[in-house]
């Protein structure tokens, strides 16, 4: 981290501002979001209101709800279907000082067995005649992990994130940006036997002497450090449409390496419509302590059977449309849009087996590999004022 801190200081020293930055648009967004896949249904609203105060301050408030009804493969294998609700509220602000923008944020997320509080701070600076914008940020999170079946279960988790972002106008038709994030999760005040970075309800499978399998609780390391670097670019095509590309590389100290790439094509049609087509691929390796089936009870120090820590690859196809509502249709607003976006996920797990099948039909470790298909929709209305 000392290297990163020195880089921040050097970068800030060399920044030579020439033009002023601008505040974001004043707008209201009202969204319904829905996720349906792998036995889980999650939907709810999200509302954002962003308003300027004077010429140099912008404030925003966001309210978001996840209503979860889950009978996912984990739940079906070892627990009972459940319903729960997660509510998240956030406040953020931006303060413009000449060529710099200071950013502050606060987010609070609550559900019946997990509370998360996050504070963030960042600064952006534009220079080279606004061709380049450089920013860095930090965020601090304090979480409390609980468990519904055990009121005494309480784990403290501390999260840290350090970010550097830059965007660059390369030509009059090409815009690029990169983002680097270094993140740390740290459990506090735990014994060696306890964990805080896993789902407390999840178990791992291990082989028994009879050739069948049984379950025991997961056990995770108390820290997780990760780095991610993403590069994105948007190109304005010879006609009015844009092509956007994105690649990202990720690695962490649990042994997971991941890459993803995405292409997005945006095409306006007439004066009122905007169509989007998207294709994304993602793949990752497994965590060092992941196994679909451990050879015996307490086979190693750390044990995980979370499919999100297993090796897998996924593809996402997305389609979307934005309709610009004619001005004057909705009073008080300068501009309004109605939007519908649909994404289809297809995830193939390379080493996560479907343990719901009959043990008489499939031996332990011989079950078919699991795959998951999910549909995600975003229906939202945006109003500028």
């Amino acid at each position: 981290m000392a290297v990163i801190k020195r880089l921040f200081i050097l970068l800030a020293w060399f920044v030579q501002p020439l033009y002023a930055a601008v505040l974001p648009d004043e707008r209201i967004d009202v969204m319904y979001h829905g996720y349906d896949g792998g036995g889980a249904e999650i939907d709810g609203p999200s509302i954002l209101v962003r308003k300027n105060i004077g010429a140099s301050v912008s404030v925003a408030a966001n309210y978001y709800v996840d209503m979860v009804s889950s009978a996912s493969i984990d739940v079906q294998a070892t627990a009972s279907p459940y319903s729960e609700e997660r509510k998240e509220s956030g406040l953020s602000g931006q303060y413009l000082i000449d060529r710099s923008t200071l950013k502050f944020g606060y987010t609070q997320s609550t559900e019946n067995d997990y509370d998360a509080t996050t504070y963030s701070f960042g600064i952006d600076q534009s220079f080279f005649g606004d061709l380049t914008t450089l920013g860095f940020g930090v965020s601090f999170g304090e979480d409390i992990v609980g468990q519904n079946t055990d009121p005494t279960y309480k784990r403290d988790l501390q999260r840290r994130k350090y970010s550097v972002n830059a965007s660059q106008i390369i030509t009059k038709n090409l815009l690029a940006s990169f983002s680097f994030d270094s993140m740390t999760d740290q459990c506090l005040n735990l014994t060696d036997e306890q964990s805080c970075l896993n789902n407390p309800y999840r178990s791992v499978r291990y082989l028994t002497s009879s050739g069948n399998y049984a379950y025991q609780s997961e056990r995770y390391p108390h820290t997780r450090n990760s780095d991610a670097l993403g590069v994105r670019a948007i190109y304005y095509l010879p006609y009015r449409a844009s092509l956007r590309g994105e690649v990202r590389k990720f690695s962490d100290n649990w042994g997971i390496d991941a890459e993803n790439a995405e292409l997005r094509y945006l095409h306006p049609y007439g004066e009122r419509f905007l169509f989007e087509v998207k294709y994304r691929v993602y793949n990752q390796t497994a965590a060092d302590f992941y196994s679909d089936l451990f050879p015996f009870l307490n086979a190693q120090n750390f044990l995980a059977r979370d499919k999100e820590l297993s090796p897998f690859s996924s593809t996402t196809v997305g389609l979307g449309v934005t309709y610009k509502i004619p001005p004057g249709t909705i009073p008080w607003f300068n501009k309004s849009t109605a939007n519908f976006y649909w994404d289809h996920f297809n995830i193939d797990y390379d080493n996560f087996r479907d343990a719901r099948v009959s043990p008489e039909e499939y031996g332990a470790g011989q079950e078919p590999l699991y795959s998951l298909q999910a549909d995600v929709i975003r229906l939202y209305f945006s109003f500028w004022f």
């Binding site: 509302i47 815009l175 994105r232 975003r378």
Partner: protein
Amino acid sequence: MMLRLFAVLSLACLVTACSQVKPWVKPYERQNIADEIMSFERDPVADSYLHHVYDAREAARGGDGASGGGCGCN
């Protein structure tokens, strides 16, 4: 590996900053760049939700230009 890649990119920024670079895309040439179809984050609520879905389904996190809080997605 990731830190090395980041250091190389940062060094490139520093080298650029040391030289007398003049804006090579003039303000009057930026009408395409200013078009709404050239925005990385056109609709913040919709973009932030999709990042949340990716974070919940994948081990990778960060590097996407998004900010966010803890969601209990473990």
